[in-house]
């Protein structure tokens, strides 16, 4: 495999695998709590972080992490104390984040909109060694949280009110989910770009749902789809010279279409199996009592 001979491709593939694991691992909880677009919002806020990174001449990855974590915490606080219209407050946060990014990067002596583009749409070939170190550390945190606290996060994302009565620290877990999502956005930023990050959090989960009945299986299938599309997208972009972010997202959507097509016969087979299991008990279909004649006169 000549593709592995290049150091930049080794780094790119490592980053791609980590994104393939982490994005769906966090995304599943966002989808479960019906906040599928939260990743998109954080992506917008992270742009301000990238801009600040250039302006202050620090690492854009770490600065984006800091700013998107702050943004995610702010979004969670708006959700709690939603006195004003929550969606309006979030919209201002999103667009403010985007505008801040463009402003800061143009103020920076070394920055231009061209730099920003590599963060918006991903730029695997420019992933540096220090980027990879950052991505590895952040990905380890995300995996630790999403797997280690899976039961707690499941309970809170499934039914927040009930989770409170089990004594779980609901607010702390909500904040942790938001922070983990923000960290994932910056992990994925170099690979698929900030504008497409949310797709990799949501679409593999949506594709996995077509096939699975349990949360555990959805989690496993979503991560498997995530890793498959990020690796194949990266390899395709190397050989065909197409942008990796867009390739990965289009492959993810193709995976969704594929699992949806597979789901129909699967659902039919399960329905048959369920009907067979029920056959011993009560009938699944309406049965007209034998004593009742079709021409029976019904007195009114």
């Amino acid at each position: 495999m000549e593709i592995l001979d290049y150091a930049f491709m080794q780094r790119a593939l490592l980053a791609a695998v980590l994104v393939g694991i982490t994005a769906p691992a966090v995304g599943i909880y966002l989808v479960q709590r019906r906040q599928a677009l939260m990743g998109d919002g954080i992506g917008h806020v992270a742009m301000t972080g990238v801009g600040l990174g250039f302006l202050l001449n620090t690492s854009p990855v770490w600065m984006a992490t800091l700013v998107s974590v702050l943004g995610a915490v702010l979004m969670e606080l708006i959700r709690w104390y939603g006195k004003t219209r929550g969606d309006i407050a979030l919209a201002m946060l999103f667009y403010g984040g985007m505008a801040g990014g463009v402003m800061f990067i143009n103020l920076a002596p070394t920055g231009s909109n061209a730099n920003l583009t590599s963060y918006l749409f991903g730029s695997l070939s420019t992933v540096s060694q220090s980027d990879v170190t950052a991505i590895c550390l952040l990905a380890a945190f995300v995996v630790l949280v999403t797997l280690g606290l899976r039961r707690q996060l499941f309970a809170v994302s499934q039914d927040e009110e009930f989770a409170r009565v089990t004594g779980l620290p609901v607010r702390a877990l909500n904040l942790l989910t938001a922070v983990t999502a923000a960290v994932t956005v910056t992990v994925a930023m170099r690979v698929v770009g900030l504008l497409l990050v949310s797709a990799l959090m949501v679409v593999p989960v949506a594709a996995a749902q077509q096939l699975s009945r349990s949360f555990a299986a959805t989690f496993a299938i979503a991560v498997a789809i995530g890793v498959t599309v990020t690796i194949s997208g990266t390899v395709t972009s190397y050989y065909q010279d197409v942008p990796p972010g867009a390739t990965i997202v289009l492959l993810t959507i193709a995976a969704f279409i594929l699992t949806t097509a597979l789901a129909t016969p699967l659902a039919r087979r399960r329905a048959r199996a369920a009907a067979a299991a029920r056959a011993a008990g009560d009938p699944a279909e309406c049965v007209i009592p034998a004593s009742r004649e079709p021409d029976e006169k019904v007195g009114v």
Partner: protein, 257 residues
């Protein structure tokens, strides 16, 4: 679990002068409510009378403007022993945005007894027992998406029972529940009450649970209107044509009786 520092005479739930607002609208205007050990108390009232808000203030979901709430004798803010409380929120579905099996949903109810969220063998057995109590053990591995409305409610109740609570708080457990499930739920509750569980439940009408209820508290406009024996059916409910569904009795309609 024994709690020697508490006497049985200590009320399980006690509300004193509780006021709560939703936005700027007062929903509870000074409510007193006591539920003693082993009692089954129904909270009744029309829509908007504040009965759901009262229950949600007890579990800490609604902040108090004034007054005091105690659970097992401890002020609610200091109360940490949530494994003793089983809660059934007002829901029409047990499903979230991602598929989950019946067992996965019910296991959440065991987290209050599981240290660090690790479910041991005994915890899994408690989950299985809870599913048996509501007659859903055969659906344990099915997705909750595949269940009927009544079965969703049975899953939500199993989730509350998984922690083996001493106090059950249920918000409209019979809403949208088919007759077969109503019967199962009434029977489940009967068993729990016989085992000494204290129950506070919000109901729209007494219905099939009527024989179990020791005391009814009726709310109107955020005030307690009646606290005593369950009221007899009045008004429209007492009309001969009104169909009271009592699963314990043979089904009869008002027109024939």
């Amino acid at each position: 679990m024994t709690h020697p520092e508490e006497s049985v005479s200590e009320p399980v739930i006690s509300l004193r002068g509780v006021r709560a607002d939703l936005g700027s609208r007062p929903v509870l205007r000074g409510i007193d409510l006591t539920v003693n050990h082993g009692e089954v108390v129904a909270l009744l009232g029309a829509n908007g009378s504040g009965k759901s808000t009262a229950v949600r203030s007890i579990i800490g979901q609604v902040p108090l403007a004034e007054g005091e709430i105690r659970l097992f004798g401890t002020p609610r803010k200091a109360f940490k022993d949530w494994a003793r409380v089983g809660y059934v929120p007002q829901r029409t579905t047990a499903a979230g945005g991602v598929p989950a099996t019946v067992t996965e949903v019910v296991s959440s109810g065991r987290l209050s007894r599981a240290r660090f969220g690790v479910l041991r063998k005994s915890d899994r057995e408690a989950v299985r027992r809870a599913l048996e109590l509501v007659g859903m053990a055969d659906r344990a591995k099915d997705s909750v998406d595949a269940l009927s409305g009544g079965q969703h409610q049975r899953v939500l109740i199993a989730r509350a029972l998984a922690a083996e609570p001493e106090l059950l708080i249920m918000d409209e457990p019979m809403a949208g529940v088919d007759l077969a499930s109503q019967e199962v739920l009434a029977h489940t509750l009967e068993e729990q009450v016989a085992a000494g569980t204290t129950v506070l439940l919000v109901l729209h009408e007494l219905g099939p649970l009527e024989p179990l209820i020791d005391r009814a508290v009726v709310l109107r406009d955020g005030c307690v209107l009646h606290d005593g024996p369950p009221p007899k059916a009045v008004g429209q409910h007492a009309l001969p044509g009104h169909d009271h569904v009592h699963p314990h009795e043979p089904i009869h309609t008002g027109l024939l009786s």
